[in-house]
């Protein structure tokens, strides 16, 4: 519990809300610069085609057109390609094969929506009119969409330098040990799964506004980014747009990310390039149709998985073979998602002696695929939690019982797939969830439902994830191109108020509130006197941004370290103020005291004295009170928990209703339970969306069929129930606050819980996501064919 109403553990109402509920948020599209022009992209309607010619002559004469730029000019100007920043090596030791990814395609398009030209115009409407007049002559090629067919000998070759469209053939684990375990197993469970492709659909579409200052040769980019510093680094060092110190990236209010705004996208590069060319600010704001085509999608795995068990239901080994679809180009972190963020979590909460996983990553003529809420871990959880549930059913065991028999109970626990779980109590979260969900009463509810023509089912998901991404040396050894520490700078003003500059970025998570809670508690100063600054490379020196539930575990730990330094320095100042020895100064509840005396100085007095510097000389102590810290975590964190989903299926229509949802999660230390619960709710909704509603569909020719909210089903209020959320707590030993992270848990846990529940209800495992009414009805028909009437 919190020691104060605004400290750690208190459900403090959010600082950021006032601007959002009054319409005063400042999102990228809300920023307007003098002389601003608008960018409209000309995009390929073909999934795969050669560009024979682009004729912009008629378009250039349209009203309001400032300029029209093409991929050929981009190449002439030596603007570099976009890159994937995580090196994966194939099992034969060869490095992954990454094709060129120019911001504007010059010679060939590889997916519908690939940009081939950009119109810079006075208004968006004029830009669109002119874009209609750009004539692109394509030679259409055969496309390959299905990842399972991408490696076929007769499949169209997407990139000339990448044979069989295969980016890497990676593996992890001990194949021999797994084979031996399977040979000796009493029971083997085999499943084939498709982890459906998802469109992230943050409600704010992506946007970029670039401005060039001729006088200073500086470029500024406002963009919808989860990590503006990484964007600046990539755009400077790899794209070669400008030196890092001549490029400022500002990510103001960002309307949701879910991973999709981590990446560096072509449009940002093009706006910067165009702004320098036309010498006016250039703004692009995606419309939703473009977002569906160009935001990096999530998931898209095809997997065969097997679980070996002994006669007592003890798991002996797991093996999985996955084909991961990375789309037409390798997005910024795409390579890591189906490898080190996926296979490393296949042990779940279970003691599994050996695991072997093979992953082939392939190119297809579809939008790039990269991290989406959970990124690899939902895919892993779906594999292991479906395997466990199906195994229990096949063995005639209670799925809860089978889980308990295999839970890891001693920590630390080294899994066979890299991860070393440091703390957890899986039985505790399971027990609490069973109570909240009233699992004892399920049989009665099921009989009651049957009387109303409904099939009631219950499904479990005891998930684990690796968050707090991540120890830099560890991820470096796995191929990451960057370190994943976080920075914090704590600036104490002369009046005692505090600004914290963080390299994390909030786009819904409420950092302005939770980070201020930490500072308020630690320094004993009012919550209102703390401001959190983020999202501007000119203000914050460097940071790695927000994703992978890392802001609490890594970002706040950096603040703790900086606050440690602040306290040490403030004690030195206090010693002069109180005319005592530094070693005798104690700091508590915002007050400095001399041990064993009634002499004290308030926080504000010490802050002021640090700056006026009247009580000490520079030779003894530097004036000022500002400290910086870079915190590198010692391990991942391992949030875990149990989600229980109860559904009712209408036998006649297949329509499935979630009638009860229980989530009990262990996130370690909770800073703000209100915000944590909100993160859980949102994660569950996205997981339920994947399980029951959402799915990106391309036609065989590569046309995006699910390209609007009319056709891509987003969960709406009436699709979801209210959720029962509970918490258990084991502290993470890997960071000073004991935080594990909560942002992705719901999306990781929930798909398996839903599918386990529906398959329980209908008595068939033959059900793929999304389990729409039609899919469930069809599964019912396959399972129990109707007799002729």
């Amino acid at each position: 519990m919190s020691s104060t109403a605004t400290g750690i553990g208190a459900p403090v109402r959010r600082k950021e809300d006032f601007r959002f509920i009054t319409g005063h948020g400042q999102y990228t599209d809300d920023v307007v610069r003098p002389g601003e022009t608008k960018a409209v992209f000309v995009r390929s309607p073909h999934a795969h085609a050669k560009i024979k010619n682009i004729d912009v002559s008629a378009a250039k004469k349209m009203p309001g057109v400032v300029d029209i730029l093409t991929g050929a000019q981009l190449a002439t100007d030596k603007i570099g390609n976009l890159i994937c920043g995580w090196m994966i090596h194939s099992k034969d030791g060869t490095p992954m094969k990454m094709s060129a990814h120019p911001a504007l395609a010059a010679s060939k398009v590889n997916c519908v929506g690939d940009a081939v030209a950009v119109v810079i115009a006075e208004t968006t409407a004029q830009g669109k009119d002119a874009a209609e007049k750009v004539i692109v002559d394509y030679e259409v090629l055969k496309a390959v969409i299905d990842p399972a067919k991408a490696q076929a000998k007769d499949a169209p070759q997407i990139h000339a330098d990448i044979p069989n469209n295969t980016i890497y053939q990676w593996h992890l684990g001990d194949a021999k040990a797994v084979a031996a375990a399977f040979a000796a197993a009493k029971h083997v469970t085999k499943i084939d799964l498709v982890n459906n492709r998802l469109s992230p659909n943050a409600m704010e579409p992506r946007a970029a506004l670039a401005e060039y200052d001729e006088g200073t040769d500086n470029l500024t980019l406002w963009n919808t980014s989860q990590n503006p510093h990484v964007a600046r680094l990539v755009i400077a060092a790899f794209v070669g747009m400008a030196p890092e110190h001549k490029l400022r990236v500002i990510a103001p209010d960002v309307g949701g990310g879910f991973g999709s705004k981590i990446f560096i996208y072509p449009e940002e590069v093009v706006c910067l390039w165009a702004a320098r060319k036309v010498k006016r600010p250039v703004k692009w704001t995606s419309d939703r149709s473009e977002a569906f085509l160009t935001d990096a999608h999530g998931r898209d795995h095809v997997t065969h998985a097997e679980l070996a068990l002994d006669a007592n239901g003890k798991i002996l080994a797991l093996r999985a073979k996955t084909i991961a679809n990375l789309g037409a180009y390798m997005s910024t972190f795409s390579s890591s998602v189906p490898t080190y963020l996926y296979a490393t979590l296949l042990s779940g909460q279970y003691n599994i002696p050996s695991i072997y996983c093979e992953v082939d990553a392939v190119y297809t003529n579809t939008a790039p695929v990269d991290a989406y809420r959970g990124a690899g871990r939902p895919e892993a959880t779906f594999v292991i939690e479906r395997l466990v549930e199906v195994s229990a059913r096949q063995l005639g065991l209670d799925p809860v019982d089978l889980r308990r028999r295999n839970f890891i109970t001693a920590f630390p626990h080294q899994t066979p797939v890299i991860m070393a779980y440091d703390a957890g109590d899986y039985n505790a979260s399971l027990k609490k969830a069973l109570e909240i969900a009233d699992v004892k009463g399920f049989g009665k509810r099921k009989r009651e439902a049957a009387r109303h023509g409904k099939l009631r089912g219950i499904g479990y998901s005891t998930y684990i994830e690796a968050c707090g991404i991540a120890p830099s040396q560890a991820v470096g050894s796995l191929g990451a191109g960057v370190g994943l520490w976080e920075s914090a700078e704590v600036r104490v003003n002369p009046t005692g108020s505090v600004e914290v500059l963080t390299g994390c970025h909030a786009h819904g998570q409420g950092h302005e509130t939770t980070f201020a809670q930490l500072v308020s508690e630690r320094l004993g100063i009012p919550f209102e006197n703390v401001s959190i600054v983020h999202g501007d490379t000119d203000k914050v020196q460097f940071g790695m941004g927000t994703y992978g539930s890392r802001s609490g575990a890594v970002g706040m730990s950096a603040i703790v370290k900086a606050l440690d330094k602040i306290e040490a320095k403030a004690k030195k100042v206090a010693a002069y103020v109180l005319e005592a020895a530094e070693g005798d100064i104690e700091f508590k509840d915002g007050k400095f005291t001399v041990a064993g005396t009634d002499k004290s100085a308030a926080w504000g007095d010490v802050a002021l004295n640090a700056y006026i510097a009247h009580k000490f000389v520079g030779a003894d102590l530097e004036p000022g009170l500002k400290e910086t810290s870079f915190y590198d975590p010692t391990n991942f964190t391992f949030p875990a928990g149990c989600h229980i989903c109860e559904v009712e299926v209408d036998i006649e229509t297949g329509k499935t209703e979630i009638v009860n949802w229980t989530a009990v999660d262990d996130f370690g230390t909770i800073i703000n339970p209100m915000i944590v619960e909100g993160q859980v709710h949102g994660g569950i909704a996205q997981g339920v969306g994947q399980a029951m509603m959402e799915g990106v569909v391309y036609s065989a020719e590569g046309q995006l069929v699910s390209g609007s909210f009319m056709d891509y089903t987003m969960p709406r209020a009436h699709d979801l129930p209210s959720f029962h959320v509970g918490l258990t707590e084991t502290k993470s030993p890997s960071n000073p606050l004991g935080i594990k992270g909560c942002g992705e848990a719901g999306a990781i846990a929930s798909p398996a819980a839903v599918i386990n529940a529906i398959t329980d209800a209908i008595g068939s495992e033959d059900l793929a996501m999304p389990a729409t009414a039609n899919a469930v009805w069809s599964a019912l028909q396959r399972a129990t064919p109707r007799q002729a009437a």
Partner: protein, 149 residues
């Protein structure tokens, strides 16, 4: 996005007359809904401009029309591809067969079509209906043209 569609229409004229009209650019231009331009560059090739609206997407398609498998007076195959710019593209063809029936001609058609780009993204649920309407309108117009002599 691919789709197929079949249909038939009874015409009050001989197969020879119907076949000749099916090769007459002026007749085709008058009968193709939204057709603004149809210029014959050879006996089997035409260039065309037509405006089509599918759901929220309206586009002016510029494209080529080819006549193949010419088998007078039994039928032919007409195919084409149109580029609608930002709206996307449409391409497709129809096999047209003429048989004698009830003193006139029964025209049966077998259409397959493909659309892409924004048309497919936003209009795909409406495409079948829209394509059927285009075909219905065409043959209604064509029927009227034949009836008028």
């Amino acid at each position: 996005m691919a789709m197929t569609m079949t249909g038939e229409v009874q015409l009050p004229a001989s197969r020879e007359v119907v076949y000749a009209k099916l090769n007459d650019a002026e007749v085709l231009k008058a009968c193709i809904p939204g057709c603004e331009e149809l210029i014959k560059s050879s006996d089997t090739e035409m260039s065309a401009v037509a405006v089509t609206k599918i759901g929220p997407v309206k586009a002016r398609f510029k494209g080529k029309v080819h006549l193949t498998d010419l088998d007078p007076p039994n039928g032919y195959r007409i195919s084409g591809e149109g580029d609608g710019g930002v709206a996307g593209f449409a391409k497709g063809g129809a096999t047209v067969a003429l048989t004698e029936k009830d003193g006139g001609t029964l025209l049966t058609y077998n259409v397959e079509a493909q659309i892409g780009g924004k048309l497919a993204q936003l209009g795909q649920r409406l495409v079948n209906g829209a394509a059927k309407k285009v075909a219905d309108d065409f043959f209604k117009n064509f029927q009227a043209h034949i009836a008028a002599g």
